[in-house]
Symmetry: none
Subunit: 299 residues, 2 copies
């Protein structure tokens, strides 16, 4: 892998108009040093998530281009959608990959945040690992009140933006920019249609109700399968591993006489999270990612 | 991945003296067109495995340099170690990667084999995909008798070398050179010092005595640990997976009341072999290598 690669997963408040969607995605196409990995939009959410990766200078420039395009195209005064949002560009997380350190992702987040404030007149909140105060770490807190509540929020000293003006952008609102660990969307499927069982297991496994530190979980129904699922976000797989979540779900399922039918990873997963699982089950001694052939070829 | 890259994993009969180890490894450092990916040595085996990759002309030249250095440094008359060996440079496999064909690896193996015979006076046996006869395909057959048995072996018409003289090199013995598919060197450590148990388990697991199709195995002692090991070569991990070997060793070990202490991968392993293990234990549905973030980055 190239050294110092950073992933970015910006969320834009446009999930309906294919022409606008394409114009925003275009900012990441055919750019030297930037690779568009994935994008998906949702009509009900009226929102688009793009996944790109690249090196710090090129990646930051492409993200700023996309922000500029989105601000021209999106007016939040006429936007509706079920997902909470406070900006045309709602949230821009940077994630260190491979040999890149969190500090490098934090630096890039700060540079992009500063430029977004200067160039586009956007109030910018730094969040997660980049946050300038503890109450700004959690995205849900930063975004609470949404676009509609921004005028009031920005008047509070607690919520002075980190960069940019102290007034909301009239059509684009504000943006949260930050650095965070990679997240893995991981679901364990249960051989039962009892949603109460799936929910009870989720409660036991997740951090918020006493479970694993870096695991968010909820029970969901898979109506087409007649089954249920513990749907999880593993927010720091280097400290809470996928195998721990899997084994804990199995352990709890036993209580209800329910079998685990299998599991699934949604979207992309860093190689380290997979290697960690193999390493656990094989009891591998001293195994490191540096032993993976492909990783070494591209170092 | 670069087109036509070939991997080479030469094995040298020196795993104890750090100065000698470094001098041999040096042949692969800072050479244009050659990338040193890994090296590891083992005291009990008294052996070192180097992994390099590169394009045909540069890679072959570096391998020949390393052979020349090893022949100067290693005298098999005073060598001891638990691993079978017949030469200072014991075996030199070439492995096609990415878009490279097996034919290209075979060509390079033949060139290096010819030069090693000419330049260093080493008897050379071609093996695996490069073998000149069916009885020379299997490395264990080529190496049977070891350094000590070479004088007798080379007198047999069946074992006339493919290149070089028909007498063993007085200190460096002989070498096997060939082309093969990628393999994974995988060892399962047993919590017993009984070598007979390790050997009995190896016999049950390996293809040659009724076990898994693409698994070679032998029992070895780890004297410094007071333990033993089932030392395996997984010769086609896409058809015989590492988890199958691990679970079969555990199953057999139970017979003897012996616990499996863990396992280890020696050298490099393709990402696919690791993903396959994680996929099995988590019961992953529809998991593909395209979901591995780094694989997408390298595409």
């Amino acid at each position: 892998m190239e050294k110092r690669i950073i992933e970015c997963v910006p969320n834009f408040s446009e999930g309906r108009d294919p022409v606008r969607i394409d114009r925003i995605v275009e900012a990441f196409r055919a750019k030297e040093g930037v690779k568009l990995l994935d994008y998906s939009s949702d009509y009900d959410h009226n929102r688009m998530v793009i996944t790109v990766a690249g090196r710090p200078p090129a990646l930051g420039a492409a993200v700023l281009d996309a922000i500029g395009i989105a601000i021209e195209l999106i007016d939040l005064n006429t936007h509706s959608g079920v997902h909470p949002r406070m900006g045309a560009v709602d949230v821009v997380p940077f994630i260190p990959l491979g040999k890149c350190s969190m500090d490098e992702a934090i630096d890039l987040a700060r540079e992009v945040a500063f430029e977004a404030g200067q160039r586009f007149g956007l109030p910018v909140f730094l969040y997660e690992q980049s946050a300038s105060a503890p109450h700004r770490v959690n995205l849900a807190d930063v975004r609470r009140g949404g676009f509609e509540g921004l005028d009031e929020k920005l008047k509070l000293p607690l919520w002075a933006p980190d960069f940019g003006p102290s007034r909301k952008h009239p059509t684009a609102g504000a943006v949260a920019v930050g650095a965070r660990s990679p997240l893995v969307a991981y679901n364990v499927n249960l051989d039962t249609d009892r949603i109460d069982v799936a929910r009870a297991i989720a409660r036991r496994v997740r951090y918020s109700s006493g479970g694993l530190r870096f695991c968010k979980a909820m029970g969901v129904e898979l109506k087409t399968r007649g089954a249920t699922q513990v749907s999880m976000n593993m927010t720091d797989y280097s400290r809470t591993s996928l195998y721990q979540a899997f084994e804990l779900v199995k352990l709890e399922a036993r209580r209800y006489g329910v079998a685990v039918a299998g599991s699934e990873i949604i979207g992309l997963v860093p190689m380290e999270a997979i290697a960690d699982v193999a390493g656990y089950y094989l009891g591998l001694e001293d195994f490191s990612l540096r032993q993976v052939l492909e990783a070494r070829l591209w170092e």
